[in-house]
């Protein structure tokens, strides 16, 4: 009998204090807990998000383990929102393939726009997103 254990590297991109427009990334392949933290309004967002999307695709297709996406974004511009939608689309496909997918959207309680933003993502993807107030 052969034991086939698949392994994947974690994806970690630390916050850059001089460039606060890049969010911190901490995607853990052991636990399946993936976090984006901070603000996201960089130039050419697709370049920043491409390795993130690649990691998510590989994890959901190869590892086939439960995944939890925690979004702790205090601001994201419309260009970043297009890439967030792509991330959610990857998770939707994984869910449709039978994998366990959980998405938590952490929000600041004095942000009046976030509820509509999240609702729009839910409408576009068909995913359920749990809204969690930030402490």
């Amino acid at each position: 009998m052969t034991l086939n254990i698949k392994r994947m590297k974690n994806l970690i991109i630390d916050a850059i204090p001089d460039s606060p427009y890049y969010p911190e990334v901490n995607f853990n392949s052991e636990t399946g807990v993936c976090e984006l933290v901070g603000e996201s309004y960089m130039e050419e967002a697709y370049k920043y998000y491409t390795p993130i999307l690649d990691w998510l695709k590989e994890y959901t297709l190869e590892m086939k383990k439960p995944i939890t996406l925690n979004l702790r974004l205090t601001y994201f511009n419309t260009n970043s929102s297009r890439l967030l939608l792509d991330m959610l689309d990857v998770l939707k496909k994984s869910q449709e393939a039978g994998n366990n997918v959980e998405i938590n959207w952490f929000y600041e309680e004095d942000d009046p726009d976030v509820k509509d933003e999240v609702e729009d993502f839910e409408i576009e993807t068909g995913l359920q997103i749990k809204m969690v107030p930030m402490e």
Partner: protein, 174 residues
């Protein structure tokens, strides 16, 4: 040369004219968050509007400032004014003359829609955009949604090829 003018008039909070890149947008948006005297709710809205509008100048101004960076250093201006019942956020830049009618059409469409229709337009526009699409149109839609106010734009011809474009939106104080 980077030059900020503060208190250009009594109601003017910040004014800048020159090349606008991501680091300047980041610096100024942090300044807004720290120093504008208003409730957190309104500062949050000003911050969001400011970034979308200034990034449009950075990416789409027809006059670009060449730097060591390869991307987005459009020449233009921004200002924020503290009016009696609202904050006015304005930007301006040079555009190619033929882009004026598209911008005008987009603004008129956004101004004609209510919140639900704007949200639907945003979803459709976002879905149709490519990954590399920076999204001036969706940015303007977002302005309408965040502020709940009309976009006010102006286009003045400069010469045969170029026009001056400016846009203002308001964040209400209540």
């Amino acid at each position: 040369m980077i030059m900020f003018q503060i208190n250009q008039s009594e109601e003017n909070i910040i004014y800048y004219h020159g090349p606008i890149n991501i680091d300047l947008v980041s610096f100024a948006s942090n300044y807004i968050k720290k120093y504008i005297l208003a409730e957190a709710l309104f500062i949050g809205k000003i911050h969001k509007v400011f970034i979308e509008l200034t990034q449009n100048v950075s990416y789409y101004s027809a006059r670009q400032y060449n730097t060591s960076r390869s991307f987005g250093s459009g020449i233009g201006w921004f200002r924020i004014d503290d009016k009696k019942d609202h904050f006015a956020i304005s930007t301006g830049n040079t555009i190619l003359k033929e882009h004026g009618s598209v911008l005008e059409k987009n603004c008129m469409e956004i101004n004609s829609l209510d919140e639900e229709d704007l949200r639907e337009l945003k979803r459709i526009t976002r879905n149709q955009s490519g990954k590399r699409d920076i999204g001036a149109h969706i940015g303007l839609i977002q302005m309408g949604l965040i502020t709940g106010n009309l976009l006010s734009m102006n286009i003045e011809p400069q010469d045969e090829k170029y026009s001056s474009f400016s846009i203002t939106t308001k964040v209400n104080k209540c």
